[in-house]
Every structure is written in structure tokens, then in C-alpha cells.
Symmetry: none
Subunit: 221 residues, 4 copies
DNA sequence: TATGAATGAGAATTCATTCAT
DNA sequence: GATGAATGAATTCTCATTCAT
């Protein structure tokens, strides 16, 4: 569903996009060191040489991939309606979105792992990434404050801890699909298991946020 | 703290252990594809050739590394005193242990990521890994049942979800040290931040377990 | 005489042929295990890497060499005029051709020895080689039958035995050039010796074929 | 039948013999370059180091192997009863012996091929090999002369050609077992095929020797 | 813009051999 | 005499990258 059609000759835009797409999957699946330029070119149905023509070299291509992945995440996140008026709902929305986003694009988790394995070389250079994160952090803070004021969320919740927890609950099982599946004899990739995991995560976060709140909402249903 | 002294000549046991130790760090830090045989030999203060003498080839060495890493984790986990009489305490013990274990051996997280990037080739072959996981799963189930019976833990908690959540809270920030640090402007490696993260995780899990319990214990302190 | 000129740059066909030619000689002279990739590249005046570019790896190159050697032999053999009307002459033609062919391309014998040392890994996979042999066997059978009918060739000659004998007489001294030369104090490589050996072989085969024939031709001369 | 039992510890003679035996088979099967020291030690049930202790290095071991192989052949050949009184019978005896000897020890053919692939390095150094060959050549000459005198063998037969032909008929199919078997769809290793080949060879040589003799013996049976 | 040919640097691996006991 | 540990020198092979058209 996410595929980009093989480029028609002499359509530079499409060629570029196709390479980027292939590279995203390749680096996501095998990391930077394990990623193969040749495989990327093949998957993108283009000549290796062309890849160099557009992106210069392997690392630059990798950077372009990360740039574009972050940009996409950023755009979709910005489009979320995180309503301060409904703080618990807003947090749940963010969790459901994050969970779904990484489920839809499993290579993305691999990409972020690759970036960490490279000790964050790319993020360290980026200015937009921390900017955008700061914006989200601020938004979360507002939401938590509003919840606290309404008495529906406990006091003194650290938005950073909340954010990391949301990410952890959304992404950890994707990063560890194979080891967890083998160890625990479950099928993490199945829709059923995913759905159950999501509900567990939502419940976990809500129960924690609500515990000790001044004026907790009645439990759903 | 975990270092093994450079092998004195003619001490095969120590040589072997030293190679394994170096390899663990190398693969943990750079993954399988990024791991360099030469670097491992250097760090282990031994000849590249010796490494082949003991382990045969790169993949076999990698397998030996995983085997030994799992064995170590298994051994320490088995030594835990998870007391059914204190269900909430037992869960907290497991969480604190897991959190601490991965914090102490940061290369371990890298190793597990590498294994997932290789689509679980090793775990898929192992019989001991799933066996040991099944044992822990069963233990968790007992604990949860006891907690339910005592009225201190909510009903129908899935031990698998609990286990994955514990792992996620213990490990996600380690896997994502660099990206999270850069994005959120925090120092994940610092002892302070770690301690705060651990307390957050403990609270999160406990609040969720307790919510809706028949006869909840009074909050601590 | 069989050399292929060093490839001009950017002439892939010639480059490929040059590599194949060098490899033929190298494997013929040193066998598979003793054959050196580096030497092949040198002789072919090209980069080692290029050799991998065209042929993939050492074994694949070796297979390509055998394939081409057999193809060449096959082509020349097929061009022979083995006339059923003159059965004794036809057999002699085949013998003279085989003898000459292996004399002209001494590396070929080495190649076949290498293949036998590898227990016929290549031939076992080929379909064309046995097909072509079957064709030649059938042709020989016709010739022998015709000779029998004309009364110039003895009865019940097995074409397979005849074929192996022809090969043995044509090739054995080439395979054993060095040991025989040293032992018997002769110069097998000299044109004179070769010529004498050929005449001996022709006589041997003819005398045997004729012995006991119904209506033997008068001896030559 | 030719195996030497694994050496009991501290029986140097047996150890040496066992190594030599293993080496003979190894070099016979894989050539010099393809022969593996490690495999030899394994097969001989001894330590690699020991092999060096006894033989010095790979090439020296190879030379020892050839020396011993030639010595054995020489000894058995010398024991033959080549009776001048029955020239045709003597030639047949030599042929049958040679054929049988190489059939019994198939690795021997491989050894001689290896020696030729090394351009006869060993034979070139040996004095005993050509001496012994000269003796056999002289004997053959006597036999042929006697046959000529009796009128049962044609005139002017070159003993060297005869000797090479005998060797070729005895050994060629062994050197080329795999290629011939695959090409011609026969089982060269089977006892039946071998027997047939031997009879063919005997007939071939006799018919040729007899052709044109002054006073040929009546054909057998 | 596009491409097949060519290459240098480096990585894994093999193999015979020596060291130390 | 016997042995396991250790090593240097190739050798095959991989991979990103540049050349020439």
C-alpha cells in the first residue's frame, strides 16, 4: 500500500522517491552497516550509479532517509487534534496514533534502531527534530496541567516520562518482534495480538494518570 | 566492572572468555553486520586467528555470544526471590531487577536488537530460551493469581502483557538512548535520570495492577 | 596461437573472454585448489575484482571454464567428417583428431584431471556433456556396424571400449608427461615423439579392429 | 584391506606408517594443493604436531608419500615372473598386473596425477625411479626380441611405446572415472566393467603384437 | 539523465606452521 | 614422544564507489 511504482524512465522525481523508499526499507530492515546499496538500487528498479547521482553516497542517502522519515512522522503528528479540553482523551489519542503509526510502518522502528546504533549521528545534527519534540513536549505539558486543573489527572506528571512511556508501549514489541515471539510463543505481527496490546497500553496509561487524581472520572462503561 | 583481564598466554579458558566478552560488546555496539572481527580480536588482546580457532567463524561467534548472554540473564533471573506471598512486591522485584540488569549491561540491549534485525535466527533455534521464558511466565501467572485471591491485584491480568510491559519500561530508553536524549534534551545515561525513570515505571505498573482490585492495599508512605 | 589479446578497456566481451582463457590455463595447470584467482587476473591483465564481477566466485569461474572447454571440444568434434562408407578411415580420423586436439591444448588435459579430482561435480550437473557423448557413441556404433557388414572390421566391437581406448591413447601421455619423461628418458613434448606415438596408436587400433574381420583389407603399403 | 590400524600411543613405527598411509590417500584424492594437513592428521588419529615431528612439512610429507608409493610398486613389479620363454604371456602378465595394481589402489593414480601437476618435481629428483624403469624397459626389450625370434611377435616393436600403452590401458579409466562415467553412462568402478575393460585391453595388445608376426600362434580357444 | 564497466580498500576465512609445556 | 595453544601469510570475497560513454 505504501509502495511507490517503479520509476518510468526520465521521471526524476519519481526515481528519487523510489530510491528513498527502497532505502528506507533496506536500512530499516538491516541497519546501516547491513544495508546494501545494490539491494536498494534493485528494489528501486534503477541503476546503482543513479543512486549516487541523486544522493552522493551511502551515508548521505541514509541521512536523507531519516530526514524524510522524521518529516513524515512530524507532519502526521502535527495533524493530530490533541484537545486540551479532554486531557485524558488527548493522551489516549496520542498513544493510539503512535501505536498505529509504528505498526503500519514497521521499517521505521528499524530505522530508529539503526540511528541509535550509530549513536544518533543524524539526530545530533538535526535542529528540526528537537524543535518539533519540544513543541510536542509543551503541548503535553499543557494537557497534563489542564487535566490536573480539572482534577481528572494526578498531579506532577512529567510530560517527558509520559512521552517515553507512550513510545515504549507503542514500539518496544515491534523492535523485539522476533525475540518476543519466539520466547513467549505468540504472534506479535497478528492483528489480534496488536489490538490486545494496544488496549492493554491504553488502560495502563489511563489507570496510572487517573490514580490519585482529585476528581477522577468514572471508569468507562 | 565486567571486564575480563587480558589473557595470559596459555590460559585457554581465559582467552576464550575474553574473546566472548569482547565479541559481546562489539556485536552489542555495532550489530552483526557492523561488528568487526578484527576489533574483537584487538579488544581481546589476541590474534584474529585464535578467534577462528575457538569459534569457527563470525556467525558462530555471534551465536556463542547470544547463548552466553541469555544464559547469564537466565541465571540471575532464576536467583530472584519472587515471593507469591507478596504479589505486588514480587512484580516490583522483577521490574527493578530487569531495569537494573539492562542498565548495567547496556551492550545487551544492542545484542537483542541485533538478533531482531537478523529476524531471530538464533532464538528460533534455541530450545532453552523459550523454555526459560515459559517458566517465568508460569511464575508470573501464579503471582497474579495469588494477588487476585488476596484482593491486591486486579483480575484477569495477562502475564504476557505484564512481562512485555516490564521489559518495555526497562529497556526502551536504553535502546533509544541517543535519539531520545537528542530529541528531549535529557541525559538518559545519568544515574539521576535512570533512577527517576525507574520510579516512574514502578508506579505505573503498580497503579495499573491495583486499579480495580477487590481489596487494595493502602498507598505506600 | 590460442591467446586472446589483453582487453582494451571498455570491451567487456574481450575482457570476459580473456579472463576465461586465463582461468582455463590456470586451472588446467594447477587444478582447482591450486589455481590462484590473483594469477588469473594478472594473466588476463585485469583487476581481481572484475573477475568477481563477471563470474561471481572461484567455483563459478571454474564451472564456466569447463563449460566453455567442453563446448569447444564438442564443436570441433561435430565438425568432423566421420564417413560410414569408410569405417576404418572414420575411426582413424577420430583418433587423429582427438590426439591432435589434446596435443594442441595441453591445459585441457589438466582441466579434465581437475574435474575428476573434484569427483566430477561439474559433469554431474551438465546435461549437454552426456548428450553429446551419446551422439558420438551412436555414430561409432553405426560405423562399427558398417565395418562389420563390409567385413573390414571384426564383429561385436563395443563402441564404448573403442572410445575410451582412443581417449587413453590420445591423452594418457599428456596427463603423465612429467613422470613418463623422467622415468623413460624421453621428451614427450617433442613433435617427433608425438608423431611416433600417434602412428603407434593408429596402428594399434587398426590392427585390433581388423583382426578376425571377415574380409580384411590388404595391409597398407 | 590396506588400512593401517590407528596407532597405539608410543608406537612410533605404527604412528609413522599411519600418517604415511593417510597422507597417501589424501594427496591421492585431492592433489598436493588440495590435500589438507589437518585431514591427514585426523584420519591418522594423531596430532597435527606429530605429523610435523615426523615429516617436517607438507612437501616433505608428500615426497615421502611418493617415495613409498613408488617403492611399493617397484617391489611388486620386481616380483613378477616375466618369462622370456613365453613372450606373449609375459606381456600379458605385465598388463594384467599393472591393471590390477592400479585398480586395487585407486589413490595411486591420483598421486601420479598430482606429481604431474607439480611438473614432476619429485621424480626429477629421484634416481631410483628412472633406474627401475630402465630395468623394466630392458626386460621388455628382451621379451620382444625373443618373441620376434620365435616369430610370435611382430618385428621392431618399441618397448617404450608398449610400456606406455600398457600403462594407458591400465590407468586412463581410473584417472577419468568420474568424467567417463558421467559422459558414457557406465559404472567404471564396478567389478564387471573393470573385468571387461581388462579383457579388451589384453586383446588389443595381443592382436597388435601378433599382427604381421612371422609365425603367429593360433588364436586362443 | 542514465548506464555498464572497472576498481581500491578492507573484511572474513583458510592453511601451514611454530611455541611452550 | 606427544600435545593443545597460538600465529603469519596468504587467499577468497565483499562493498562502496568512480570511470568513461
Amino acid at each position: 500500500m505504501n509502495d511507490i511504482a517503479p520509476p518510468r524512465p526520465r521521471d526524476p522525481e519519481r526515481t528519487r522517491a523510489s530510491i528513498l523508499n527502497s532505502a528506507t526499507r533496506e536500512f530499516g530492515a538491516h541497519g546501516f552497516a547491513g544495508g546494501r546499496i545494490e539491494r536498494i538500487a534493485e528494489t528501486a528498479h534503477c541503476n546503482i550509479r543513479l543512486l549516487y547521482h541523486y544522493f552522493g553516497n551511502k551515508k548521505a542517502l541514509y541521512f536523507a532517509v531519516l530526514e524524510s522519515a522524521y518529516a513524515d512522522l512530524r507532519a502526521e503528528q502535527a495533524a493530530l487534534d490533541l484537545d486540551v479540553a479532554d486531557p485524558l482523551g488527548a493522551v489516549e489519542t496520542l498513544l493510539r496514533f503512535t501505536f498505529g503509526y509504528f505498526q503500519q510502518k514497521p521499517y521505521l522502528e528499524g530505522l530508529l534502531q539503526a540511528e541509535n546504533m550509530m549513536r544518533g549521528k543524524f539526530v545530533a545534527q538535526s535542529t528540526r527534530v528537537p524543535e518539533e519534540a519540544a513543541r510536542l513536549k509543551a503541548r503535553l505539558r499543557e494537557i497534563l496541567k489542564a487535566g490536573e486543573a480539572q482534577g481528572v489527572i494526578r498531579r506532577e506528571v512529567d510530560p517527558v516520562q509520559l512521552y517515553i512511556t507512550i513510545a515504549a508501549l507503542s514500539r518496544f514489541h515491534i523492535a523485539n518482534t522476533y525475540t518476543l515471539s519466539a520466547m513467549l510463543d505468540i504472534d506479535i505481527k497478528s492483528a489480534d495480538w496488536s489490538a490486545a496490546r494496544l488496549e492493554h497500553s491504553v488502560q495502563l496509561v489511563r489507570d496510572w494518570l487517573v490514580t490519585g487524581a482529585a476528581n477522577p472520572a468514572p471508569p468507562p462503561r
